[in-house]
Structure formats: structure tokens, C-alpha cells
């Protein structure tokens, strides 16, 4: 797959600001354009990552952000794939660029979130599994995270202390990130004294919901060179894959898995297959990565991702963590941004924020949280109802 260039990135800090999501997106977009040294009038395609929590403007986010920046007659698209929306919007922009339909595009995502558990849509929705899981058995998002955490303890002997150590690591990284919502280094004692939300996970180990915005300006590599950037950060691979039947891990928002009675158990699950597409497109493998930003919806979940990415064998994630290999200064730092633990999740902006972080890191602009000599990085998450999301960047 041909590469595209990252010309500029920008973010609105994560927090609970309570303003219109458009404000965050516009701030991030203006910062990304400034970083790219590009005039808004030069953008040929606007790709929005939607939010479903902010009314109609959120469903047409590409147009909404473009309107707030001033309509220029550029092309537009808006994408929704839950927590994968940012990557889907990026993949849409890449397709436009590589097809020759445009040369330079702006990708934007932003969200304003309510306090507390993410809730389903209102009304009586007996056909909607996302509504039914709350109605029939009170299965919140942390319920699923906790099921995975308990399973990990059973399969691999992970301990609650291991989970707390992930949070310690990420909170220390977040202190040095001006865009992070929680800039406090938590101790093991503080984490283990926080209330249990869904056993074995505690409040400080579960991702919060946040307001925030992120934007990326991308172009053809040729356009970047003409624009005066000889050695841009490049997007080397993107994965937006679906699961394959039968999926054997219970995933949000379902109440049951597929059945393997007719097929036998498949070789690996959805999360194992997500990075493979991005690895294949980029020609890189896990051994080539200098860093990764992964989807730590819970502290325990980060450990699962080490294995899904191939950073270690199944069951070895705790060793990787405890040996310091995924800490800043280690072999392959994970969540040097602070991760979701330090950010909370702003759904359509989250994947784009990971790309902002990797871009700054690969340019060597990350200050005290810089991964020394980083040349290649991967970010991964996935969205409700089976949306894979993984991007590999290199310089």
C-alpha cells in the first residue's frame, strides 16, 4: 500500500469542559493546519469522525466542522464506527488521496460526553442490543472490561497488583502530556484504595469519558515534498477490518458470542486479527515497532493488547510490564501519552489523538515523554459492533 504523509496534527486538551463539541474540533483543526503551515482554503477534502451524543451536527461532523471553519466548496465525508471512527475517517481520507481525488485532507473528531457510564440511546429499543444489555442485565462497559480482566487472572495468573502497575506507568506518562485530562502520578496504594467498580477492576483502573478533539492534516507524499517537507511522518498501514465468524470473545454490546458448533474454534479472535492488516500493508512487524499506543479501556486490558500486537507471547504480558519493557525508556514503550488512563475516552477523537501522539514522537517533539529515537509506531483500538482500528506510522 502506498504511504501518505502527515503534514500537521493538533488537539484540544481532554477534560470535562462542558462546551459544544464543535469548539474542540475547530481548535484541534486550526492547530493542525498551523502545524502543517497550511491555509484552510487549501484543504481539498474534509473527513469528519462523528459523535452520536451531540445531536444532528454530530452525525454530519465533516460538514459541521467545515461550516465552523467557513465553507470553501471542498469535498466532505462523515464516518461513524464508534470508537474506531477516527481511523475510519482517516482511511476515507487516504482513499481519496491515493485515488487522486484530492491531494490534501483534514481529518477531525471531537466529542462532548455526559458524566458517568456511557448509556444507550433513549426510548424503548427492544431490537437494539446496546439497549437490551442494560435493560436485561445491567451490563455496563466496565462489566465487559472486568470479565476480560478476571479471565486474564484465570488464564495467565495475572494479579490485581499487575493491573495497578499498568495504571502507575500510564499515570506517570500522563503527567508530562499537556493534552491529558489526569496529570497526576498515582501510587499503587492510591489505586488499590480506590473503590471497586466491577471486580476485580477499581475506579482508577477504568477509562473515564471525556470531552476532547483531535485533528490530522494528511496529503500525498508528493504534495508534502512540494509543500517543503522532505521527510514527513508517513502513514504506512491502516486496518479497519471486521471480525470473522465465529467470534469467541464476548464483545460489547452482545449478550452471547457466536457459536463455534458448526465451524470449530477459529485461529485467534478479532483483536488478534486487527493489527495483521496494518502490519501487512506497512511491511513492518511487531519487532519493528519503537512504541505503541493501545486501547487501555482498563489497566488490565492494556496487557491483552501486548499479546494481540505480538509484542510478546500470550501469557507473557505481565513479564513484559514488570521488566519495564513497556515503560518509557524500555524496549517498546506503550502509552507514552498516558493512554486512556490519563485521557479518558472522547470517542471519535481517540484514535486521532493516538495519531497525534505518534506524530509528535516520530518527529522528536515530545519533550519529557519522548521515546528516544522512535522511527515506527503503532496505534490500535476498536469500535462497538466490530470495527477494527489500527494505524502504523513511520518516519
Amino acid at each position: 500500500m502506498d504511504e501518505i504523509a502527515v503534514l500537521g496534527v493538533g488537539m484540544h486538551p481532554w477534560g470535562k469542559w462542558g462546551r459544544n463539541f464543535v469548539d474542540y474540533g475547530v481548535k484541534a483543526a486550526r492547530d493542525a493546519l498551523q502545524d502543517a503551515e497550511l491555509d484552510w482554503n487549501e484543504v481539498q477534502f474534509v473527513s469528519g469522525a462523528n459523535t452520536v451524543r451531540c445531536g444532528y451536527p454530530g452525525y454530519v461532523s465533516g460538514s459541521t466542522f467545515a461550516h465552523a471553519l467557513g465553507f470553501t466548496g471542498a469535498q466532505v465525508a462523515s464516518s461513524y464506527s464508534a470508537c474506531a471512527s477516527g481511523t475510519t475517517a482517516l482511511a476515507t481520507a487516504r482513499a481519496q488521496i491515493l485515488s487522486g481525488s484530492c491531494e490534501v485532507a483534514l481529518v477531525v473528531g471531537a466529542d462532548t460526553t455526559p458524566k458517568g457510564f456511557l448509556a444507550p440511546n433513549q426510548g424503548e429499543r427492544w431490537d437494539d442490543p446496546d439497549w437490551l444489555r442494560f435493560k436485561l442485565m445491567g451490563v455496563t462497559n466496565p462489566t465487559y472490561f472486568a470479565l476480560y480482566a478476571r479471565r486474564r487472572m484465570e488464564l495467565y495468573g495475572a494479579t490485581a497488583r499487575d493491573f495497578a502497575k499498568v495504571k502507575v506507568k500510564n499515570s506517570q506518562a500522563g503527567v508530562n502530556n499537556p493534552n491529558a485530562r489526569y496529570r497526576k502520578a498515582f501510587t499503587l496504594e492510591e489505586i488499590e484504595a480506590s473503590p471497586v467498580v466491577a471486580s476485580p477492576l477499581r475506579l482508577l483502573e477504568i477509562c473515564a469519558t471525556s470531552d476532547g478533539g483531535a485533528a490530522v492534516v494528511v496529503s500525498s507524499v508528493d504534495y508534502a515534498r512540494r509543500h517543503g517537507i522532505a521527510n514527513p511522518v508517513k502513514i504506512a498501514g491502516i486496518s479497519t477490518v471486521l471480525p470473522r465468524y465465529p467470534e469467541q470473545i464476548i464483545e460489547m454490546p452482545y449478550l452471547a458470542t457466536d457459536s463455534a458448533a458448526g465451524t470449530g474454534w477459529p485461529d485467534g479472535g478479532f483483536r488478534d486479527t486487527i493489527p495483521k492488516r496494518a502490519y501487512a500493508e506497512s511491511g513492518l512487524g511487531p519487532e519493528d515497532l519503537d512504541m505503541a499506543e493501545v486501547y487501555d479501556l482498563s489497566s488490565a486490558f492494556e496487557l491483552d493488547w501486548y499479546e494481540h500486537l505480538g509484542l510478546c507471547k500470550p501469557g507473557d504480558a505481565e513479564k513484559l510490564l514488570n521488566d519495564g519493557e513497556t515503560s518509557l525508556g524500555g524496549r517498546v514503550p506503550v502509552n507514552a501519552s498516558g493512554g486512556l488512563g490519563a485521557f479518558g475516552e472522547a470517542v471519535p477523537a481517540q484514535a486521532l489523538s493516538q495519531i497525534c501522539e505518534l506524530t509528535w514522537q516520530l518527529r522528536g517533539q515530545s519533550g519529557p515523554r519522548q521515546v528516544q529515537g522512535a522511527r515506527a509506531g503503532l496505534c490500535i483500538n476498536y469500535g462497538l459492533f466490530g470495527h477494527g482500528s489500527c494505524v502504523i506510522l513511520q518516519r
Binding site: F117, E154, A256
Partner: protein, 144 residues
């Protein structure tokens, strides 16, 4: 005062008698099971298709994982006041090769559960209002 009627919280997903069981579908073409029975046709992409038959799923399975929820979830869940923590189990059914979620019977101590514990399907009250008591399936350790 007459006793309130007891009704399933959702129609057509599970039976109450003679023994409670979940109602699923089985594809005659490939043998895959489906629960809930929301599919109109087989979703195994390698299956050429076949007749669907309605089947009762296995009434027992083993705990794949479990958790106790300690905070009241948002609507439409109806929480008692004051809120009482509840346990959710993911249970693996051997014949169907699938995992089905359910609350664990409220009188079961979460400390008594382990991954691998054998459980059976029972019926419990999810909540009640002025008209009715609403029934839902629960998982409960098989009596030793």
C-alpha cells in the same frame, strides 16, 4: 390483595416451564446455534444455508468469567433503591460452543464463584413495578 402477575421481561427469549431454558436457533446446514434468535438466516459466511429450527439451549455450562458490579448502571436498567451490587457471569455452553451472559442469582456469594464453576439456568425477578413482577434468567451454581 391479589398477587402481581409474573411475566418475562422479554418475550420469546426463554421458557419458564417445565424447566427454564434459553430459546435459540440451530442451523440445519452447518449446525451453528444462535442466541438470541434474531437472525433470519445463518450468519456463518461459509454455510450454504439451511432450515432453522428453534431449540432449547443447554441448561448448564461453566463460568468463563464473572464480575460483581458495584455501581448502579444507567437506565433502562431498573435498580432497587438503595442499590444492591449484582454479579454477571459469562457462561460457556459445551454443546453450543458459545458463551452467554446472565446475572448470577442474587443470593449467591460472589466469593463462591470461580472460572470453571458449573452453573445452571434459573429464573429470578429482575425488578417489579405496580403492575407486574418481571422475570429474567439467572445463572446459579449447580448444587454440589
Amino acid at each position: 390483595m391479589a398477587e402481581k402477575p409474573k411475566v418475562p421481561v422479554i418475550e420469546g427469549w426463554f421458557t419458564l416451564e417445565p424447566q427454564p431454558s434459553l430459546i435459540g436457533l440451530r442451523c440445519g446446514g452447518c449446525g451453528s446455534y444462535f442466541f438470541p434468535k434474531t437472525q433470519a438466516s445463518c450468519i456463518n459466511p461459509t454455510c450454504g444455508g439451511g432450515e432453522f429450527e428453534e431449540v432449547e439451549l443447554s441448561r448448564t455450562g461453566r463460568i468463563w468469567s464473572y464480575t460483581q458490579n458495584c455501581y448502579s448502571p444507567p437506565a433502562p436498567y431498573v435498580s432497587p433503591d438503595p442499590f444492591v451490587p449484582y454479579t454477571v457471569a459469562a457462561v460457556e455452553l459445551e454443546r453450543e460452543k458459545m458463551v452467554v451472559l446472565g446475572q448470577v442469582s442474587p443470593d449467591v456469594d460472589v466469593e463462591a464463584l470461580e472460572v470453571g464453576t458449573e452453573v445452571e439456568l434459573t429464573i429470578g425477578t429482575l425488578y417489579e413495578d405496580e403492575q407486574s413482577e418481571y422475570l429474567m434468567w439467572n445463572w446459579r451454581p449447580v448444587a454440589a
